[in-house]
Symmetry: C2
Subunit: 476 residues, 2 copies
């Protein structure tokens, strides 16, 4: 790939920037050599790449504030970055921007088991939050597939979910407060450590705002006592729609599994070949997991299995051991990787009302025929968060474009049935132009005004979320 051209004016500005950053950060926290900025040229959406002007790795809220203040004064755009696992280009730099990475902000600041909270710096990885409290019998609920690597900062930016979020909710339901550094360097506290914080509730606006409003350096999260036990049941069906109808019936019945995961034949086959999870060879597979004591588990699974039987499953198999349960989950968590071994794919992230699952699965099947591209479906069915994987051949000219076009049609279908473009991956760069399908000009304007309030100069995470024509008009 060609280096993007950076004009001499920008280079002179870069020198001034590095000089000023050196006044507030130690030398090892500033990355500006061209070879080294390459490490930050993309996130997990590797189709888009652009090295930033520089990257900084501050170690405290005060350092973050100092960096933002300098960039604000110099009119330099800033791209906040967690661990860079975004599938939507949420941490993609522009050539004139500074990457602000939170990777060194990893401290646990407070654990309070009486109030069941943990306060920490947001560079900490998702899984290591649970790691900090599990010896005492607690855990942090949201569990994105990337939880080994992804940072809490990114989870907050994208309002991430995960397989077990049907019961426990997504990030916004487990986030109690944040320390937010605004673009001008101002540090504000939003929310707090307990049920109902004082004043107007801006926490919801910040959660899921994709780095458009500020940089979250610290967070207070809810932790929960680990359940006594958990057990999954596998259900296989003859077609996707029946599996979708079964999910809708389980939700309607009011039992609350911790997870309902959906996989269709292409995904089942690839996963079984890769992870040997013991999955049946069927058109559609559901993994339904419940938690509690042995009695509670049995009682819930009986209700769920009764519903499943009414949909004539080709297989219905309750896990009988810890090892079997672990194999079932290893399969599901390997599914994306397994698909990646045998195909190039594009992963979508539409969210729909649960009752529309059968309709949307049928629609995806029809689009698959129309475009001649196979689709693997693997997703959190319980809360309607779809992750269709469109399979294509990156070496075949035109295939990626066809795939992008088909992806857009699937997401439009999600919007049509009352859903939205993204559940947890974010709009990022990937879906910014589809925002016109979700929002009319008035609704878009409302969001732009919020951005105006938090970031009047429009320096934070540029060229993301909003369509470029809208942003261009806004910035004049």
């Amino acid at each position: 790939m060609e280096m993007p051209k950076v004009d001499p004016f920008t280079l002179a500005k870069k020198d001034r920037l590095i000089a000023r950053l050196s006044e507030v950060l130690p030398e090892d926290a500033i990355i500006h050599a061209v070879e080294e900025t390459r490490a930050y040229e993309c996130d997990a959406l590797t189709a888009y790449k652009c090295p930033p002007l520089a990257a900084v790795l501050p170690r405290s809220t005060l350092e973050v504030s100092a960096v933002l203040k300098i960039c604000h004064e110099m009119d330099i755009p800033v791209v906040p970055r967690g661990s860079g696992t975004s599938l939507a280009g949420g941490a993609l730099p522009t050539a004139d921007s500074v990457i602000l990475g939170v990777a060194r902000l990893t401290d646990v600041l407070e654990v309070d088991y009486d109030d069941r909270i943990i306060r920490l710096q947001t560079g900490r990885t998702n899984l290591s939050v649970t790691g900090a409290v599990e010896a005492d019998g607690f855990f942090y609920a949201p569990d994105p597939s990337s939880q080994l690597a992804c940072a809490i900062a990114g989870n907050i930016g994208m309002n991430s979910g995960g397989a077990h979020c049907l019961k426990y909710g997504v990030t916004t339901n487990n986030l109690l407060g944040v320390t937010l550094v605004q673009m001008d360097g101002t540090v504000v506290e939003i929310g707090g450590a307990h049920m109902d914080s004082a004043g107007m509730d801006l926490l919801g606006v910040v959660c899921g705002s994709e780095g458009q409003l500020g940089v979250v350096t610290e967070a207070t999260l809810r932790i929960l006592p680990k359940p006594e036990g958990a057990r999954p049941v596998l259900m296989a069906f003859d077609d996707n729609e029946t599996a979708g109808a079964c999910v809708a019936d389980i939700i309607k019945a009011g039992v609350l599994p911790v997870a309902i995961e959906f996989m269709d034949r292409p995904v089942i086959r690839a996963t079984e070949a890769f992870a040997k999870a013991g999955y049946p060879d069927a058109e559609a597979l559901l993994i339904v997991e419940v938690e509690g004591s042995e009695d509670e588990i049995d009682e819930q699974l009986e209700v769920i299995e009764k519903i499943a039987r009414s949909h004539n499953p080709v297989e219905l198999r309750r896990s009988t051991s810890e090892a079997e349960s672990a194999a079932i989950w290893l399969g599901r968590k390997s599914a994306f990787g397994a698909m990646g071994q045998i195909n190039d794919y594009m992963c979508l992230d539409g969210t729909i009302p649960v009752s529309e699952l059968p309709v949307v699965l049928r629609g995806i099947g029809e689009l698959s025929k129309k475009y001649g591209l196979d689709v693997g479906n693997v997703f959190h069915a319980g809360d309607g968060n779809m992750h269709p994987l469109i399979l294509f051949d990156a070496n075949k000219p035109g295939d990626l474009e066809l795939c992008e076009e088909m992806g857009a049609e699937i997401l439009k279908l999600c919007v049509e049935v009352g859903g939205c473009l993204t559940g947890e991956h974010g709009v990022g760069v990937e879906k910014r132009d589809l925002m016109h399908h979700q929002f009319n000009p008035g609704d878009m304007e409302a969001q732009l005004r919020i951005k105006d309030v938090f970031d009047p100069k429009w320096l934070l995470n540029p060229a993301k979320v909003f369509p470029l024509d809208v942003t261009a008009a806004r910035r004049g």
Copy 2:
């Protein structure tokens, strides 16, 4: 009480207003005769009274929009009103304002059991939401004590909770979307019917904003399947602090009761005399209720009773029948009324971290001695929402003032331990000057800016929430 003086200029303006309102509303929806506006001179905080210029009772979102547009053009303040059950003066008129009552907006617009939602007009009472779905086995979870009368519009305005919100959350956790009419008449949709709505999440800002940002005319609420069964256990203790410590231990243990209610001796006695609930005569009483199947109930109650026994209760009694359970709850729900029969009281609404319950109960006891005023404590202990009732004699000169001073000290104590001024009653008129204790000027400014965005002319629900000195400076 004297009629507030209304100057001739205002009266002329009133005539013009009524003429314009008559163009958009039927005659029976406009109340302007001075005798009739008296019906709207106060809410449940009856210490403050002031008849409005007029009151309107629109029947649709379009009518609400038309009224707001007229008032916006004429610079006439508007006070939105649900059922007028506010304990903090949240619906108190000013003499130059129009009361906009939602009492006639009572339609159910959509019930969807597959997605477990109900969409309705917000004048509908809280209890009648459950009424609309209970024949099909569903209910709406938040249950304020005033649920027979209070409107969903008010619940959204104050982010109301209730006894059973420990498990199910407060209004904000059960609200999925709203139709908001802005002061200039613009109608906007915020949120939606499913898990994750598109765009920035403004729902949290609107919920609990006390009518400062717009009028919510329609709402989409989450409904839940009714649990199989429920059973309370009574626990009595020798002192308040031990009961408080027991609550903190139950929360910490991770069992999730649907309710943990706290009553101290003055309240137990008054309630027992009034409702004959069979309460023991003790210093402090907890009602802990769990839900589920018979097995689940037994299992949870065993854990809870084990914790209780470790605090040496003077009585520990599990309900053994439906009738006994009903009597226990009738007592709790009558507690405020029972106290009102024998005392004048002021009801506070501070919210604190659960772990601080013993500290705050001790502090309230010390303030009670200092001021020579008795306090009855009856509150939702599980989520830290305190409702101390300060007893006073309305006929004794100076007693109310003493009571107000003591109330302010209790609320300051709540703020000091990390809590806030109000859990569900709102700041309203009652606590607006205490906001200086909760917020520094920078934090207050942030809230004022939000108000500026939604209501630039500052016409909505005037003289509430923000301290008058701050508002005066703002409006210039």
